[in-house]
């Protein structure tokens, strides 16, 4: 098969700024580069513009050969929409009641709050695409997990499930959302058994899934997150500085991230009473929706005197310029042994010193442990965070060029293209074969 046809089901795709779009873009591009015809089935970008904003420049990073088919969200994002003209009297007077009714209605076709509403329009679009040009392989990216249900719409076509998170349990708290023998667990087990391949972002999540669904273990792969070189990516000249510029780039999950201890730790290290001075520049979204909570805005406002500031979102295409303006990076992550963080690999690829402000039991620690310029906070107290910041600032006063060079070289191993190449090569063997021709359960697909 010269040019197999991939149908890629990705709820979010550029110009959306949802955190998943970087992996989805890279996967679509990697298939196109491998000679596949790629059709991406995604939500209409107008929806993202209404609820979270767009990054129009991000479209430039999508291979022009990738064909994008936008479809309605089916009302899945209605609770996030802010057009008050469309609000009913019930929604204005009793928003909780309105939301609960919508939640229940959305679960009629698929057991996922609100996103279940995407199944019908996306399934219909998938069948139309297949009728227009037969699909050889389906790849479904989650979350939302309704993508896995959409993948079932094409009878006989093999599919791959890409878990960026975990459906059955919370990757931050570790708490189980449903048991394997529950109705949703049995649904998930069926999807896994029929899948041609199953991807996870780290070994911790894959391992937990292998315990829950042992019959599918042979098909499970770890396809770690990597970095996608953006314009301007390259090594930079190391410079000594007495006033370092620290930076944070990403979506601030302020509910789960240790932001408050960080702000206190920064104050201890570089506040008015401290001897050292530094700048801290935060860029990205202050929440997944882009709406900035009043408390977080106020926190940055009051920290301005200490050199900390928030400079707003930045296009993914411009991140190399931002990294190039910094001396070191601040890695704030949610706690949890299943958490890697999409930005960890990107941080490593910069070759800059990284101050880790997260639970060291996170999966991210596996990537960082051998990084030559890693400055982890020993604990999430203001003192622990302050010590890590100061240690990094001290290293920046007289940087060891060889150490910086080693850090740069270490980071380049996380290039996403290199991570994806072997698994895509494996999928060429699967594409075009019916599900019946592929063994189930054991995962021996060759």
């Amino acid at each position: 098969m010269n040019r197999p046809h991939l149908l890629y089901i990705a709820y979010s795709f550029p110009p959306s700024t949802a955190s998943s779009v970087y992996r989805c873009t890279a996967v679509a591009n990697a298939f196109a580069a491998d000679g596949w015809d790629v059709t991406v089935l995604t939500v209409d970008p107008t929806v993202w513009s209404e609820i979270a904003g767009l990054d129009e420049k991000l479209l430039e990073s999508v291979d022009p050969q990738v064909h994008i088919v936008p479809v309605t969200d089916g009302g899945a994002e209605d609770p996030a929409r802010g057009d008050l003209r469309t609000f009913s009297r019930l929604r204005v007077a009793a928003p909780y009641v309105w939301k609960e009714l919508r939640r229940r209605r959305s679960r009629r076709d698929f057991p996922e709050n609100f996103h279940g509403a995407w199944l019908k329009p996306a399934g219909r679009a998938a069948r139309d695409i297949h009728a227009d040009k037969p699909v050889d392989l389906v790849m479904a990216s989650a979350n939302p997990y309704v993508s896995f249900a959409v993948a079932q719409a094409l009878d006989g076509v093999p599919y791959v499930m890409d878990y960026r998170d975990a459906w059955a349990f919370n990757t931050i708290s570790g708490v189980e959302d449903f048991a394997p023998d529950s109705p949703t667990g049995r649904l998930e087990a069926g999807y896994l058994d029929r899948a041609a391949q199953i991807w996870f972002v780290n070994e911790q999540i894959r391992s937990e899934y292998s315990l829950r669904y042992p019959s599918a273990v042979g098909k499970m792969r770890v396809v770690a997150n990597g970095f996608d070189p953006q314009p301007g990516h390259g090594p930079r000249t190391v410079r000594a500085t007495q006033r370092p510029r620290f930076g944070y780039l990403g979506t601030l999950q302020y509910v789960n991230m240790p932001l408050e201890p960080f702000l206190e730790g920064w104050d201890v290290a570089f506040g008015a009473a401290a001897r050292g001075r530094a700048d801290g520049i935060f860029r990205g979204k202050l929440s997944p929706s882009g709406a900035a909570p009043a408390e977080v805005l106020a926190a940055f406002g009051s920290a301005a005197g200490n050199g900390l500031r928030y400079d707003g979102p930045i296009s993914k295409r411009d991140v190399a310029g931002f990294y190039g303006s910094l001396d070191a990076l601040i890695l704030l992550l949610s706690s949890g042994k299943f958490v890697t963080g999409g930005k960890t690999a990107e941080y490593l690829a910069t070759g800059l010193p990284i101050v880790s402000v997260h639970d060291l039991g996170n999966a991210a620690t596996d990537l960082l442990r051998d990084y030559p310029l890693w400055f982890p906070a020993r604990d999430l107290t203001p003192e622990g965070i302050s010590a890590a910041l100061q240690e990094c600032a001290n290293a920046l006063q007289s940087p060891d060029t060889a150490r910086w060079q080693a850090a740069w070289e270490y980071g380049q191993q996380f290039d996403r293209a290199a991570i994806l190449a072997p698994v895509i090569a494996e999928l060429r063997e699967i594409a075009g074969h019916s599900k019946a021709e592929l063994p189930t359960g054991t995962g021996d697909m060759q």
């Binding site: 209404e50 609820i51 802010g82 057009d83 008050l84 003209r85 709406a291 805005l297 106020a298 406002g301």
Partner: protein
Amino acid sequence: MSAPHQLRVGILVGQVSHPQAVIDDLWHRATGAAPAGWQVQVEVVHVGTRPDSAQPAGGVQGIVQLQPPTPFRGSARLSALAGGQGPAGVVGRLVRDNLESRRVAVTLARRKDLVASLRGSAVVVAADPSADRAVWQLRKLTGAHLVHGPAAMVHAIKVLSDS
């Protein structure tokens, strides 16, 4: 040379913990979303007590402060109920939020001049849920974009600039 576009944005702020931070954020986003050459005029109405002494951002024309009616006597008990679990907590939050949004809406409606001014805006933004009802009630009085929150506001400005 054509005259620069004028974009009037009305912001209604209800009961939020840090009104100045919220206003500044909306102002920055509104001015950032407008195309180059557009003049953005922002009018802010805040229904509530201003707890801080912060000054409005450079482009904000001024903040009109309105004092809402005094909460009714049982409001403390209602707040306690709203913080509870289960159906009683849901009912408590429903009643509390309704009363709150009605207070904001009634306070604004009493100021006909401010209502007229907001009606003249191209975009009217409810900065928080307690302001939603007051902005929603403008729907038959104006053709302006009536939105909740910064993302919807930026989207509305984008729609205007694309049209």
